[in-house]
Symmetry: C2
DNA sequence: ACCTGAACACCGTTCAAGT
DNA sequence: ACCTGAACACCGTTCAAGT
């Protein structure tokens, strides 16, 4: 715990970081304006100079989250050539790994009761950008014949849903409590990613 | 808005119903002890006679939710004979339809920050019971040769994840905002269920 | 421009007291 | 046994006032 953020008091950043730490620890419910202010070493009124309300903090973090997801997906897929099924699998794996590595972001990104009121458009744009990577990946696989040609719509939705669902079930706990699960999450995820790859690839 | 619940004042039930309506309207965050008491026409202390705290209300509703899910899944699948892939697809569809019909339950069931503290074991049991139906369904399909035999683990997890993810993405909004979606949710869901059925069945 | 501190209307939870 | 009403420590948000 450092002293007052030194001179160019980056209060805005301090507020965001404190928020992230709070969500990490106790879920979205644990993010309180006043606690955040305390951790950022300002009075409880100060954050309102940077964010109109609590939801705006969540929205800003959601946007950051989608950008980070896009970045990590790019890094994870770039070692596999376009059109290979391994690239598709890496795309799904990156999604799950993101959720494991940044549960706080993940919890915020998909919580529109907090993000949506007036549907902050920049959040939607960031989300669409992240999703584009999966769509392109599937398109390339179709072009190269790795995936059956035709309407990619159901393939995109189904595989997105599968990796998102896995992440959600993991973060929210039921997967851990129902007894389907002995292996570590990494292994579970790569099993699902490979299963999807098998299913979606033709042969 | 009725007057005070007449004589055998079923306060417990009134509290649960009011809670459900609040969650339906404004998400889990909108469920406040005091507002619930107001709607149940008792003072704010009364609910504590039936529930030790706010989380206990959520836990009770989560349990109800899983039981309802199991019931609706049984109804939805019973018209298809065991071992047919249509039964598997109906199982997935039932999951999504449940989410559409009872978003409030769905939002509560998978929110362990609220349900988990001390992991109410009856909630876990109800969840496991609901999940068993999918597992049995896949087992029957394997027995009848509709699905490739061998470890059912990845199939169970992947298909559960896909339907859960679809429901989550729908409820939480990103599916509606990203432009992948023109059709009504019913159609989207049956497309995903059929895609899964195709993938998972061998032919 | 940026921050403070008081103020307002809420909240969850506890508990003595009533019936 | 079931409920009330006051009490406590919190919360989000607003706003006049300071620098």
């Amino acid at each position: 715990m450092p002293k007052k953020p030194s001179r160019p008091r980056d209060v805005r950043r301090a507020v965001l970081d404190a928020s992230l730490r709070l969500v990490d620890k106790g879920g979205v419910g644990a993010l309180s304006m006043r606690e955040v202010a305390r951790r950022a070493r300002v009075t409880h009124g100060a954050p309102y100079h940077y964010f109109p309300d609590r939801a705006a903090i969540l929205a800003a973090l959601a946007e950051e989250g989608f950008e980070l997801l896009a970045k990590e997906t790019v890094v994870a897929t770039q070692e596999f050539p376009q059109g290979r099924i391994e690239r598709f699998e890496a795309c799904g794996l990156a999604y799950f790994r993101f959720a494991l590595k940044h549960p706080a972001y993940m919890r915020i990104m998909f919580r529109p009761e907090l993000v949506e009121p007036m549907s902050h458009p920049s959040v939607d744009a960031a989300a669409a950008r992240a999703m584009t990577l999966l769509i392109e990946c599937i398109g390339e696989c179709q072009a190269s014949g790795t995936i059956r040609k035709g309407d990619s719509h159901p393939i995109v939705v189904t595989s997105w849903a599968a990796m998102h669902g896995l992440a959600a079930l993991w973060l929210d706990g039921p997967l851990r409590r129902v007894g389907l699960f002995d292996e570590p999450p990494e292994q579970l995820a790569s099993a699902v990613a490979r299963t999807l790859g098998e299913w979606v690839g033709r042969t």
